[in-house]
């Protein structure tokens, strides 16, 4: 999924479609544009119905059947059995918890570090391209590449991180092999990988703050710290709420890192909800049950984003 929100107010020319057209225009434009509109919408809508709306409904129906990957047809009607099974399955709840745990581990550092780095970059007079390169470059790498590099970093005894720990005289942690540590290691990788995105959003937010506010505060004798506290942070609230919701949703959808780096292990300690769907649907062939688990996953994501929307709306009515 992709999420959107405009961060920068656009000089929109508001022209309400309901505005009564002038006589001249009425001649040029017939009252309705039903036919051309349909033609313009058709290519998108056709694909949209076929590959988004259709599968969504198909999946919903499937979730009430014991559908199997290796047989055709829906299979036996199961009623709410699939949902009941998922909600009573300890594996499902464990996967949900791992997803939430991953979100908890990644979201705060991804927001705080991105904000700090952006604030620092804002004050650096030169070499901005270098910061953008360093922080943003990882974000555009494919997950598989990131995983390969970090598995090598974490390799026991030989990896760079393992060696650094040993060189510092610390016990070498079993980064990906220890069930308690594996998720933290995946979180570190993820912070490295995706921080650049939030960094760029914050940089843009910073550029929107009018210079004269700083100048005025300087006249009042405000130092850099006060400026950050009194001006920058409050004015970044909008950006922050956007970053937070995008980040939480992205973290909830985690799959790639686990699939490649730990395969959900050790002993399923890092299996995310999406990988659970993948496992039951495509490894165990239980397509119907996987569809039910997908639906529950969708409900969780929806609940999180709606919850966040309601919360931020209440705090900031103008958002």
């Amino acid at each position: 999924m992709a999420s959107v929100e405009t961060t920068i107010p656009e000089p929109t020319r508001v022209t309400s479609p309901e505005r009564p057209p002038t006589r001249a225009k009425r001649e040029a434009q017939p009252r309705g544009h039903g036919r051309p509109a349909l033609l313009f919408l058709a290519p998108f809508l056709a694909l949209y119905l076929l590959f988004i709306v259709g599968p969504a409904l198909y999946g919903l129906v499937m979730s009430f059947f014991d559908t199997s990957m290796v047989t055709s047809g829906f299979g036996q009607f199961a009623g709410l059995d699939n949902y009941a099974e998922a909600l009573t399955s300890s594996d499902f709840w464990a996967a949900l918890w791992h997803t939430i745990w991953f979100t908890i581990l990644t979201t705060p550092p991804l927001i705080v570090l991105a904000l700090v780095f952006a604030l620092l970059a804002e004050r650096a007079s030169r070499a901005r391209w270098f910061f953008r390169l360093a922080f943003f470059l990882p974000y555009i790498l494919p997950s598989a590449v990131v995983a390969l590099i970090w598995v090598w970093m974490y390799t026991p005894a030989l990896g760079l991180l393992s060696r650094t720990m040993t060189a510092l005289g610390l016990a070498e942690p079993n980064w990906l092999g220890d069930p308690d540590l594996a998720m933290v290691s995946l979180a570190i990788t993820t912070v490295w990988w995706t921080l650049g995105f939030n960094f760029v959003l914050y940089l843009a937010g910073l550029q929107d703050i009018p210079r004269d506010l700083y100048e005025a505060s300087a006249i009042d004798g405000a130092g850099p710290w006060q400026q950050i506290r009194m001006i920058t942070l409050p004015l970044l609230a909008r950006t922050t709420s956007l970053v937070v919701v995008l980040q939480i949703i992205a973290s909830m959808k985690v799959f790639d890192q686990m699939y490649i780096m730990t395969q959900g292990g050790p002993n399923f300690a890092t299996r995310s909800l999406l990988q659970y769907v993948f496992d039951v649907g495509f490894t165990d062939f239980r397509t119907g049950y996987a569809a039910a688990a997908s639906t529950l996953f969708f409900v969780v994501v929806l609940a999180v984003s709606t919850g966040w929307l309601v919360m931020t709306r209440r705090q900031e009515p103008e958002l």
């Binding site: 999420s3 039903g34 051309p36 390969l148």
Partner: protein, 295 residues
Amino acid sequence: MATLTFETRALTTAEARRNVASADRRTRIFNRCCTGVLVAFALLWLVPLAWAVDTALKPNGETTNPTWAIENPTLASFRTLLAEGDILNWYAASFFTSSLVAVGTVVTASLAAYALSRMRFRHRLLAFWFILIGIMIPNQVLIVPRFRELASVNLLNTYWAVIVPQIPLAIAVFVFKQFFDGIPKDLDEAARIDGAGFFRTYRQIVLPLARPAVSAVAIFSFVWTWNDLLWPLLALSNPNIMTIPVGLATVQGTYGIRYADTMASAILGALPLVLVFLLFQRRIVEGIAGTGLKG
């Protein structure tokens, strides 16, 4: 939004000048510290990439050396991989699918957005909301039914299985519509009065003005398709037509532990997008800043 409170007492000119001067000095020192700290972090951020390059340039046998120094620099790992040929096939697959998705997304989404922005027809609002709902449905939720759907029409294991489902991108319609709404209607209305049809207005007036939106949507759908793992992992099983992420994630080197080769494959897998990034750096960054697009 929080309100700002400043001291309202009127300052004398001398006070103000003194304040500014001392603030300037403090700010300069502070800024220099900031730069220093950030440079340290930026270098830290580059370490994994540098380490990957460093490893890839060593012979396989020397990758267990605990040093950054490369005693016998070699491109052997890159040569081995290119000779095996898999990665070239994966390049082709990634390039082909990503380009077509980018083109398809731009065309379909901008057409739909144009209708929503410029035409009056019944159920316009309904159509708009109907498409907006699509933004709320994560692609990942749809993998199970989509797989069965494409299996039933025998499209699995072709590029089309990767391309076609990724074209309808609701978010892109939204981005285009917002952009079109910001373009003054006088321009295209004038053209329409001159007798230009909707398509010509769209093609010759609105679309050229919407270049920033076009490039943002094109670049992002390209990068997302290039980097997507989950769906192509399901759709492509023939190693010859796998995309780069799928190939790297599923096909294993047969020779046991060869870290230099592994890192070389990571670097080769990353290379095209790094080039794209270097070429379009500013546009990518501005695209994110402007639309908050996130995969």
